[in-house]
Symmetry: D2
Subunit: 342 residues, 4 copies
């Protein structure tokens, strides 16, 4: 059994880690910390866990995290970077679901995240945990930077096109839509039900923190800088990301075959038959990314549709996928649920 | 392994049976029938099942149902009553998720359902599959009448009060709210998103088919006829039933203790601590019924709050719970998922 | 033209007052105050008002409220009671949309609202602004206690029964459901879209502040204390209240005729034909209360269904209705919009 | 007073016409027809109209449409083209809210709409009723082709860029999102609440009927054929369209000034201040189109955000705007409501 600790368990990625880990056959949850809720029963805060999780939140100071095999950080940005080093020294693997280790260019990171990085030395070591690109590196990683929700859906969508070198990488467009759980479990007015439901809007068009992360990932694949316009939108739904991706083809080829071949061995990427449109509910509660490939009206613009559950493949599920890989377990263990539909 | 057949798999109870049975360790799905979709891949209709269910819908006439161990009817009312007899003769157990065998008084059934009963002789044999009341009978049953969604939430809520004989059973009130999946996967205007969302209404106040079913169940427990006012409402949500139950106390007692004791051995009934309010999402996708007991302002009116997922404990999950009992399996096998929250 | 001031314009009742007053032919809005947003353009905060309202929020200290003819308080509880007296002395009429003047028993008010009352002397003078009961008193009032959203829907629903003396007033039940805008425009976790949508729950069952207000109103009509069980619920919709009311008949009579007669001259109460069920969207954005009367299965329990828009008839619209009456204008002036459906 | 007839009043554009016309000071509704609901009270079908519309649906055959001044067709495609000619001969103006007269190339129309055109001779005469482009032609029109919902939001968004000749018109991208009322009031499974809520998907990516309409409109402005990729999506909300438009700049200029200047005299187009993001609810129930202009990260890709209410500016409101222009009334008369927020 893998002894697991969770730092910061009161947000949506925290409860989702708990939901999935509670059913994982090789995991024992040893500690879950929360500064604000220390002493409270986890199942009192998240009533879905009654009967499944019998732990209390512990104070971060008291928690025996150093005795775990792996610690997940389901914290706001800026926390993992302060604690990762000491855990690694104690031979504890670290998986950060926040953004602390995602951007290799520390100055760039500091610009977008508005704070000084606490351990720039670990940034280089950290492995960007998108298994469909970095599986081999994940196997031996001590420190995982778990990808953001938008970056997961967008990168998996663009990947085959860029690897194949068949699109104009200077003018990529990602028009992406997210459910409101992506904003986290935070008391804010703009994500109230009375504000966000029966409504639709774009936000962060001038610049969103996931832009440099996606740009870095795609540029790594392209082996040169890509140009990306990234427009996030807020959808009145709880879970789900839908990325609509546009690129100009520089070469004609069988796009459907390209995608099917690229992902044929990937358990969590499902390429739909030609002509289909994935819907976010078809992956609700699951670690899947479903993708469809379109070339409307035979123009030179390719349209990729890519959907995920932002809390699973976009966060907690992918983190466990990384854990499975790091510990030599079957990659799908404990995260192979059937999506909930309707 | 139990060989399972499903008749009528294109509705919401059908897809929910498939979601749960696909993950059940002791089940092999042999056939799923649909007159309208025969030949179509199940996973094409219900994309959440891609990669989990590799069957096509078969024509009811072709399906080898007689070779199954058990057949679930996830059909409209009036279908199971035409096919149950021949299956039983072939030693196949039958679980009907529709209403054909729920009401013992055949004349009463015919009045509410507007059709003649095709096999009144089987009505007496059929066991009403609410395990929390009828577990022993379910064990040896050949034919199960799986309870309706409203009746499950209402009966589990009222049960301890009526067994204890502490309320005026002539004036029970059940004010019940259901998500729209309760109306089924049928093309109708009043359940369109543009009609049902951002809206709330009561319906069927003069009389709803679940009224005689609940009345029968509660009267059986009370051993005399109960008087019940039952008002269903439509909630703009997908899944979930919330029953708010009112009764006049005829005797003061520790209601919290009464409920905790009654359900202490029930895996799927969760009595919340005093003062709490269950929410439907706390059981989303699970077979649980969560109940809270209130006596506001110390008046003589008791208020019970009871929530279920109408597609699980109110339909497919309870049907599998009954199957587990009938085949001597652990009652929670394959239906012990953690609810999906948020 | 009536010169109008609004204190506290950043909540939902504030923006709704502005929406309605912007189109009122006899109103000129002179000032709208907000401590937190002073100096900000109203239409920047509420983009629906762009092109309709050309005011900035002013600091409460600077605002020339004393020169208005009437001031609406769209503030949290406890603000109006501190400022009403000085406005009244300056001959300004006051309409409080909060609860400060609703409960005549000051000790009772202090118990439920958890604060000391700042001007108990004005409580007796304040007129409870439910025009369907108190129209004559409203005409000459200086100070209006505008009713709460739940109390409006519940009182209008029960009123004819209690006036006629035909129900057991010791055991009234109000099972009431509200959209989330009823919780106000406040940053809180439990009303986030990711928490409140696709979900249903009761809350405040042990005791809710609207209970004493409803009880007072109904007891006044009955001329003796009523017994009321009041259970509020949160519906995943933005606007709307649906009250389902239960009472035991002590006398048989033509209930439909009773309701039609009682409300035949009321512009804002619409009694539906027998057998109908009102839905909340049928009053969305309007000042209407629609009511249906049922006696299911001819039992002795009467069921009344009553719907309103909580922000209009349950708040801002009723406040303007009171203003119209106080200033001798046609009662429907400026608040006779057609509800928005779908 | 203008005598108005409506053909086909049982859909969402029909009820929206009625909502707006009921409050229009210069309109008298003479007849509203429905084959299926003839004889039924309009307010019984659409309960929001109780007390505002006192008409019954009449049989199309009986209706005295020829005595009206103007007839609106709120019908499915293919109806208006059969009746327009005889109405025009009777000196009745015709405004078709369906697609019969929108595409000037009749062969193209027949390809996309799958039927033969019944009166190709009138297609040339029909004026495409987008007042912001065609106001002068609308003034003298007898027959208006009222634009589609997507085409209105997309064309108003792209218009200034194309008029100014500053973008690559061969590679325009319109990523557009619509509320489900855009699918009409039709009994279909995919728009059920249980299917469409808490879900997001693209549809019609290979080809959607609004593509040729938008392409025609933009090509007319550009005076040469444009290349357009158009991807519609279904949003779990009732009303609203959000168009996110992408184009490659061929010339740098002050885009904000360009848009503000272009629309400074348009009552129903509101250009937001720089840096803002319009939301669909900010135009709910109103005839407004709100637009924001972005050039993220100073790249050469411009992003335009354009929102409308699909039932108002995208249908019924724009139709009345056209009527106002045709009859010499103030353009905003009767359609200047404040949007409903929240």
């Amino acid at each position: 059994m893998i002894n697991v600790g969770i730092v910061g368990g009161t947000g949506y990625t925290g409860v989702e880690l708990l939901r999935l880990l509670a059913q994982h056959p090789k995991v024992k949850i040893k500690a879950i910390t929360s500064r604000s809720e220390a002493g409270m029963s986890v199942a009192e805060l998240f009533t879905n866990l009654r009967g499944h999780i019998d732990l209390k939140f512990s104070d971060p100071a008291d928690a025996k995290l150093a005795k775990c095999d792996v610690v997940f950080f389901a914290t706001p940005n800026g926390i993992a970077m302060q604690q990762a080093e000491s855990l690694l020294k104690a031979d504890v693997k670290v998986i950060d679901l926040a953004a602390d280790f995602r951007i290799k260019d520390v100055a760039e990171w500091e610009k977008w995240y508005g704070m000084q990085h606490a351990c720039p030395n670990l940034v280089a070591e950290a492995v960007y945990g998108l298994p469909e690109i970095n599986r081999e590196k994940v196997k031996n990683a001590r420190l995982i930077a778990n990808p953001g929700c938008y970056p997961t859906a967008v990168q998996l969508g663009f990947l085959p096109l860029i690897e194949a070198g068949v699109v104009d990488i200077k003018h990529l467009i990602a028009d992406v839509k997210s459910g409101v759980s992506g904003a986290g479990r935070k008391a804010e007015i703009h994500t109230l039900h009375a504000e966000a439901s029966d409504n639709f809007k774009a936000y962060g068009v001038p610049g969103h923190r996931h832009l440099p992360e996606i740009r870095q990932g795609l540029s790594n694949v392209a082996k040169k800088p890509v140009g990306l316009t990234f427009v996030p939108h807020l959808v009145p739904m709880i879970r789900g990301i839908h990325a609509t991706l546009y690129a100009k083809l520089t070469k004609q080829l069988d796009l459907q075959a390209l995608y099917e071949k690229r992902y044929q061995d990937e358990a969590f990427v499902d390429v739909l038959p030609a002509g289909k449109h994935p819907e976010t509910r078809s992956v609700r509660g699951s670690n899947l990314c479903r993708i469809a490939v379109h070339q409307p009206q035979n123009s030179d613009t390719v349209v990729i549709l890519s959907v995920t559950d932002n809390l699973v493949k976009g966060a907690a599920g992918q983190a466990i996928q990384n854990m499975n890989i790091m510990f030599g377990l079957p990659e799908t263990l404990g995260i192979n649920q059937v999506p909930l539909l309707p």
